[in-house]
Assembly symmetry: C2
């Protein structure tokens, strides 16, 4: 299947990939524009495009784009796009308490979507059954042959060990470790399955589609039940030596604080996770609040909720300060269930960063909300597939 790198075929595969990327990045594109973007010759691009058209990975746009015409006349370009029906991708997000499944086209536009509350932690195998069934249903529903689905991406809320040896770091996990999710889903779906940590994939999504477009160095902070982060550094998603990068929730911010499930004291998660937020509000309100309730109160302007959320933001800022000083990112993107709380949260983070970063770094770091909301993780899972698949794309020709 895979040919030697350094061969002519590898070169052509590489160039095909660059053409596909150029089209993906700018949507409807003329061949000339691809030439300018890739630096390849007209001839080569023409050859590659007609090949991709034959494989139905691209389609030619039929209608005139605009009646305007180019400045000074000339033959109008024929535009090509990624063929929406040329293939599809499945994305799955296994949260602690819910399962989300999407099917997208090759441009990662969502074609169908389903979501279901589910106690994933307690019934992982059932959740996998549900996810697989739903994925197949959705694929059929949008009229896509399963043979044209590139693969499935899965976002899970545990660290994903890159090269897992016997020494499993179980402490932070909750029984998931005994199940090989990728294999299980592959057996149920018959598709290549790519696995990623949900915070890392949130970063991937905001990088590819959201607030981090065009930015090669940023930190995605996911505030939900737990607290995690995803790092895009130098134009690559960074997963750490053992796939444990991004565990922002276990940075110690209160050395004498509560004991965390990881065994330490005062981790960020014990201060800014869903549990402590809800607990702080429940003390003054009824006892049966959820994180979404706190966020809603916050959006309604409830002073107590705003204060609680801002304090959580400050704690996040304390954990982020050291990281930002050392990594020099251009951007911090805040996502997860708590993110819709908006301004108070961002203000808390910004306030602490302003005090704890050297001025030169602080001035360079923007702090913004994510643009993809609760879809971030599942879209990241989709992007994981499209980013890592082109090799396959180029084979079934």
């Amino acid at each position: 299947m895979v040919t030697a790198p350094g061969s002519l075929e590898a070169l052509r595969r590489h160039n095909r990939l660059r053409v596909l990327e150029a089209v993906q990045r700018r949507g409807a594109t003329s061949r000339v524009e691809i030439v300018r973007a890739t630096g390849l010759s007209r001839t080569t691009v023409s050859s590659l495009v007609s090949e991709l058209l034959a494989e139905q990975l691209l389609t030619e746009q039929v209608e005139r784009p605009t009646a305007s015409g180019s400045p000074g006349g000339g033959r109008p370009p024929t535009l090509v796009t990624l063929n929406p029906h040329g293939g599809g991708v499945v994305g799955v997000h296994l949260g602690h308490d819910s399962v989300r499944v999407v099917v997208t086209d090759l441009a990662c536009a969502v074609l169908a979507e389903a979501q279901h509350a589910w106690d994933v932690d307690a019934h992982l195998s059932d959740a996998l059954d549900y996810a697989a069934r739903t994925a197949l249903d959705l694929v059929a529903q949008v009229g896509l042959g399963i043979d044209r689905v590139l693969g499935a991406g899965v976002a899970v809320s545990t660290p994903v060990r890159v090269c897992a040896p016997a020494s499993a770091p179980r402490s932070v996990l909750t029984g998931w470790d005994d199940v090989n999710i990728a294999e299980e889903l592959h057996a149920r779906l018959g598709l290549p399955v790519h696995l990623g940590n949900d915070a890392n994939l949130g970063a991937m999504a905001e990088w590819t589609f959201g607030a981090g477009r065009q930015v090669d160095d940023f930190i995605y902070v996911m505030l939900s039940d737990g607290v995690g982060a995803g790092l895009v550094l130098g134009g690559h998603l960074y997963e750490g030596a053992a796939g444990m990068a991004g565990e922002l929730g276990h940075v110690v911010v209160t050395p004498d604080g509560f004991v965390c499930r990881c065994g330490n004291r005062g981790c960020l998660e014990t201060v800014a996770g869903a549990g402590p937020l809800v607990a702080a509000m429940s003390h003054s309100r009824g006892a049966d609040l959820t994180l979404d309730d706190v966020v809603a109160l916050c959006r309604d302007g409830d002073p107590g909720a705003r204060r609680v959320v801002e304090d959580a933001g400050r704690a996040v800022g304390r954990a982020l300060a050291g990281v930002c000083t050392v990594l020099d990112p251009r951007l911090v993107v805040v996502g997860g269930k708590t993110a819709p709380a908006g301004e108070p949260l961002l203000a808390g983070i910004r306030a602490v960063l302003a005090r704890r970063l050297s001025p030169s770094i602080n001035q360079a770091v923007r702090v913004v909300s994510g643009e993809l909301g609760s879809r971030a993780e599942v879209l990241g899972a989709v992007a994981l597939v499209t980013r890592s698949t082109p090799g396959h794309v180029l084979l079934h020709g």
Copy 2:
């Protein structure tokens, strides 16, 4: 000069590079071994090797390697090596108070070396003169033509902005910013000059030659007058969005501590830099100690010095804990002038990391001393040249 990527020439350049790397990695090598290492065909390797021989970048080993012969007889391979006299590299380290210059061969083995105390901060231009003069002297001294020197790498003790706009982050700097060091040295030497931050280059050196060989994810901590760090993440040196990554010295570890030159309070540098270390010891001893004196006392077993150094290590650990939690590195390498203090320093770091990291991450992170000592930065500068030059190597054919 530079051809379009994706062209045939680019492919050949790339393959040449892989051959060179294979030879560099294993020393004397036969062509067949290169075939196995690169996956290229016999023919291609043969063609590339003879080309490189003609350019005198490689040489054929004349003598029999061992009289043993291969198992079962057969034609003995002709081994090729990087030609030590095929070219050279200049490395310069501009510290705050000293200048160091080396000349190495293409395999980065040091051929000549010079070092001189110098108040670089106050007399930068003179220091550049000295460095350039010394570099040319050393090149002549080892009998190398200046036209066969690939370039000069320079390690400077300020952040190096990757894509410097007008908005210069001067706060941490000391007047260096007005001088374009790369241009100035290029004018004096007539060579391509590559610039890097000294902590980043220390990391590069330990990664390429020292304690971080084979490790793709580690943090190099440089404890000297100031405190800095270099990051190797996912097999790349990471310099940050604006080249400011690694400023570990300005992570806040004592929020109410002394004011730092960066404008913040309680930065690591105000606790574990040379100044505070010397000050703490001078209080009980004479007033005119240097950092080297403190290190020497520590090595002699002086309890006070050991305590001071261990406390500095603990402060470093506090700064590192958050970073390690988020980055999940495999290794922390400690270098810089303070590093020879040895065990007390490492013990301080390890003790705090053990308390502040989640057990799963702590167990994965080793903390060790660097192997290159005071040569690390200047060797990193050399590596910077060889790593980024192959494009040039391949041109002057």
